[in-house]
Symmetry: C2
Subunit: 214 residues, 2 copies
């Protein structure tokens, strides 16, 4: 099945597998079966095998997958085989937390710059060693090999910030502002609205309290 359109849902699951594989590799397991990986990450084993089958034969029948090798392959597919440099726009509460967030490194992602419009913040050094720069100078990211942006600004400032980022050559944006944003087709945006995720939780909670388990 090597040459095929890859389902978006498969792409969404690849980072999950990658995370699981890296934890497993750290434990010193050389091989892992689709079943073990399935138990570990919470996906069915046949789903995992099907997902991998879109890209080639990564496993060995009767044995399983070489954890290190498979992790490397997934990184290549996700284009995480080179370090990706990202810029943060909007250093408020959420932005600061993202700067300090240790989880990005696992995927080879690195926040190397931060911008804000607040004069009181500009010039400050964050715990990560990143100095907050004036958003008016956002065009400088063009010369700094930065392809990704994280935007953590208020909703009303989001579209404007994005427009500037696109002009500065940014190719992918992770948007925390709770709104739709428009970009040229060549730019990919993933919007992550935290409050919205919490908001759909009550729907799944039955009103009357039953008490069965597992």
């Amino acid at each position: 099945m090597r040459y095929h359109k890859i389902p978006d849902e498969t792409v969404r699951r690849l980072p999950v597998y990658l995370r699981g594989l890296m934890v497993s590799a750290n434990q010193g397991d050389r091989y892992i079966s689709s079943q073990s990986l399935a138990d570990f990450v919470g996906v069915n084993s046949w789903q995992i095998r099907k997902d991998f089958s879109y890209f080639g034969d990564f496993g060995t029948r009767g044995v399983g997958y070489d954890t290190e090798k498979l992790a490397r392959e997934i990184k290549k597919i996700l284009r995480l085989d080179v370090i990706r440099r990202a810029v943060l726009v909007g250093v408020g509460d959420l932005g600061s937390a993202l700067l300090a967030y240790p989880g990005f490194g696992v995927y080879g992602l690195d926040i190397v710059a931060a911008f804000d419009i607040d004069p009181k913040k500009i010039g400050q050094t964050m715990n990560h060693g990143v100095i907050i720069e004036d958003f008016a100078r956002i065009d400088t990211v063009k010369e700094r090999d930065i392809s990704l942006a994280i935007i953590a600004v208020p909703r009303t400032a989001a579209q404007e910030a994005v427009d500037q980022l696109v002009a500065a050559g940014i190719k992918g944006i992770l948007n925390f502002a709770p709104c739709k944003i428009s970009v040229p087709k060549r730019v990919k945006v993933i919007t992550l609205d935290i409050a919205m995720e919490l908001a759909r939780l009550p729907y799944y909670i039955p009103r009357a309290g039953r008490t069965d388990d597992s």
Copy 2:
């Protein structure tokens, strides 16, 4: 189409519509067509109509939807028609940012308590007026009409925290820890792994830079 199984994807979109409707209602628009709402939130108009059709006839042909009434209906469907009280577990960088996050109020969600295990943090009052309590006393949420939890603890502490929350009667959990967590069927978990979202961005970025627009 009133009596049917509701697609999960529809439930995922309802908060998007709700947000759009509330902004629209604030602008003073009494009615909105599926087309206008579509333009505003970035979903197709037929998708919107189909989604609403699962729940009943909310609109008026030739006119559109009554913004206020529709917002009320969606809130009822999502069970957001009562204020939902939530507890935060883990007051690190991300946890603090979530406490200060203004977006929850829009959906009638309210973080009324925060817990941590760090003795240096316990007793501190956060900017929101919430006092950090000792996680050892998490069982007290049982008597405080709290049904939702947000967990922002390290991966290794997540499952333990969740087990305690479930024992304390929590019904829905928004999990920021990058791992699978196991809960009884009656409890709903939504995991939101921030680094993972950023990690799938490079996949969509072409290696060679093309430059076509919109």
